[in-house]
């Protein structure tokens, strides 16, 4: 045990005394976390809802309900525009003046059931435009139903269809059936009103830079091999298992300490509620560190030069970070990608952290991800040891 600890201490000393470690292990993850967290949720005092411009070319009671119902729905901000705005709709949307511009055409009320449709101009690749479109589609569908109801009832009682359509439209103020969305999970003790952007970026950056940090430790192994230090070590009264264990323990310690620093920073500087279940966070962090250490051992054994270590670490970081949902949630990806992504240990690490931070689940929810990650650690370790022995 003393020999293992001696090798570990040697590695740690080399890593921690190197100024580059401070940059890669500490400074870069902190800067990236802060930047991305602010980018996703820059504090604003304005209304974050999408802005919809409405140009009403019909100017009737029924067409007037379009803007009115969008406003009462509360999902979007509405600005009523002059008639001429319809001609410059494309320009207004392209310039970003509006997230969506809705043009209610002339004749809408007269033939609302089967006449000209309102036209929504928006860039559907923009999330704000997508949110605005959902709200506008709901209102347009309701008023189309109202118009048809007006026609049906007019046919039965002989009254004016447009007046009946307006009366029906007013019925949507308090519909018989409605939907309310709630977030599942215990009410967070210190949760902010507006979602904290750091709750997304902090765990993601933690996982990404844990993987990237493997480069620092793997480099030591490569340098030892190239300088023949490793051969001399093996000639000493120390077994291969002790050498491997010493290196792995050093890599584990570095990754764990880095992760701990980012957790503490996230908790106190960025208000990410890791303290909801400290034991859960530590268990996931320990498992992640173990896997990353075995990955580092694997890279250190496979790579022959420093450049290869850099390249392999970079590829590993991209693959596991992007594939595991550290960059973007897997929910928004395709089915196959989402399925494959969830097979990766990084995805389980993200799950573990999000169970605590976002879902507010207790310690038990962190155990399953931690066990799975540990399984991956065992796999990578076994392959690395086999390769080490072969060499």
């Amino acid at each position: 045990m003393a020999r293992i600890l001696a090798i570990t201490a040697k590695d740690l000393k080399q890593i921690l005394l190197d100024r580059r470690s401070a940059i890669f292990l500490v400074l870069m993850p902190v800067v990236f976390t802060a930047f991305l967290g602010l980018a996703f949720r820059w504090p604003t005092h304005g209304d974050p809802r999408p802005l919809v411009g409405v140009s009403d070319l019909d100017s009737t009671d029924l067409s007037g309900l379009v803007a009115a119902q969008l406003e009462t729905g509360g999902l979007v901000r509405v600005e009523k525009l002059y008639r001429g705005a319809a001609k410059v709709a494309d320009d207004l949307v392209k310039r970003g003046r509006f997230d969506l511009l809705l043009v209610v055409p002339a004749g809408y009320s007269q033939g609302a059931a089967a006449g000209p449709l309102p036209e929504a101009v928006c860039d559907r690749s923009e999330p704000q435009a997508q949110a605005a479109l959902l709200a506008v589609e709901a209102v347009a569908a309701r008023l189309a139903l109202s118009a048809r109801i007006g026609q049906l009832v007019a046919g039965a009682v002989g009254a004016k269809a447009t007046d009946l359509a307006v009366a029906a439209g007013a019925g949507w103020q308090e519909p018989a059936l409605s939907v309310r969305r709630e977030t599942f999970g215990p009410a967070p003790a210190k949760r902010q009103e507006v979602a904290n952007g750091f709750e997304q970026s902090s765990p993601g950056i933690l996982v990404q830079f844990a993987i990237f940090g493997v480069m620092t430790a793997a480099l030591l192994l490569v340098l030892e091999r190239r300088s023949r230090t490793l051969s001399r070590m093996l000639a000493a009264p120390v077994t291969r298992a002790q050498v491997i264990s010493g290196h792995v323990l050093a890599m584990f310690t570095v990754t764990f300490l880095q992760g701990l620093l980012l957790v503490v920073l996230g908790q106190f500087a960025f208000k990410v509620d890791y303290a909801r279940s400290p034991a859960g966070v530590l268990v996931v962090l320990a498992a992640l560190s173990l896997w990353v250490a075995s990955l580092g051992l694997f890279i250190g054994v496979v790579a022959k030069t420093q450049e290869q270590v850099s390249m392999l670490s970079l590829i590993a970081m991209f693959l596991f970070a992007a594939g595991g949902g550290a960059w973007f949630p897997l929910e928004i990806t395709g089915r196959v990608f989402s399925f494959i992504g969830h097979l990766l240990p990084s995805a389980w690490a993200m799950d573990g952290f999000q169970n605590v931070v976002l879902r507010g689940l207790p310690f038990g929810s962190a155990l399953a991800p931690a066990l799975i990650i540990t399984g991956y650690a065992a796999l990578f370790f076994a392959v690395a040891v086999w390769r080490f022995r072969a060499e």
């Binding site: 580059r20 890669f24 007006g150 939907v179 599942f184 590829i315 594939g323 395709g334």
Partner: protein, 428 residues
Amino acid sequence: MTEIYIAGKDLRGSIRSRFFIGVAIFVPLLVTALFFFAFGGRVRETGKGPGTAPVRTVVVNEDEGSLRLGRAVVNLLTGPQLREVMYSTEVADTGLARFALSRRRADVAVIIPAGFSAALTDSASRAEVVLLSDPVKTIGPAIVQAVMQRLLDGFSGSKILLNTYRSAAGSGDKSAERLRRTRRGSVPASADDRQAIARLMQQYQVMAQSGAASLSVRAPGGGEDVSAMFRRMMASIFAGLMVFFAFYTGAYTALSLVREHEDGTLARLFTTPVGRGRILGGKMLSVVATVTVQATVLVVASTLLFGLRWGETGSSLLALAGTVVASSGFGVMLASFIKTTRQGGPVLGGGLSVAGMLGGLFTQAVPNMPAAFNRIALALPQGWVIRGWNLAIAGRPAPDMLLSFGVMLAWGVVCFAVGTMVFRRRFA
């Protein structure tokens, strides 16, 4: 000629280096492939965009009404019509639904309340369907909410139809009492009334199920299909990666001077009859040549592999030229301040990563970036380079690119001048 020979030799060395091919070519293509694969690859022409996995939903029916409308909703949600969008299963009660959410077996739980059917038959009643969702998920719950709202509006519409008919049919007797009783639904219906209502409901059901469109949607500027929008988004993401790795290659190639100085080969070169100025010139030229080859290969490869479009030829050539000049010049300047190759790691890896992040290279896919970040980006050459590419990808003509190109050129020339001056002094 000597400069070209030196540049050619260094370029051949770079192209033969597995590290260069790996980092400069393979990694950006790999990351783009990941994004491409993640967000749909070859977009199916469904008009709905890249396919996403169906939302896993559990449904609880607490409705006891005689109309059994809750059961009808459950059958719709669990039926095949919505399978592409939602994968729904029924569970017995809310406790099981919450359990499924806590175990991550479902992303959304739909709770149909007890008075669901009654809300449609009793004019004074209302009912609220509750959606419980995983706080990590945003898109899935929004989809389910939109689907449920449409479904429920169809039912609510029948009640509005009934109320509208009653108000209109009873409008001959405009007494306030009759109107109040009409709204409460307590005006007794005659046989004719009941027949008319039954007929109207039947017509309404046919109409509601017809699925006629109620809104037309188009993109600004003539309409871009979903496939083109997706490729435009991918092109922006790839441009960010390409610019980052172009700057990295520029600095890494320029660092060869430091490497050769450490290895002693530079000193040997300086003993040859070729002037130091020409040797340094050749090295600078190799930086330009290497970045040019890299950027060109990446643009061509991305077009062939992923079908990305880079806008008008003139615009994309200007963007490419600006990228080469800015990244080469910046790389030379950066390398001139590096004393040893050991320093190169943190400066190239760390410094360029932070500069790339501040320049907006890694946040191309982030919508509505704060204005402050966009201003910071323009204080760096990376910010102007990616701005140029974004203009080209958006289809802007070459004259619109001239400002960005001019700034890129200025950055490149100034950085080259500074870097060359520092190198000359160092190796004087």
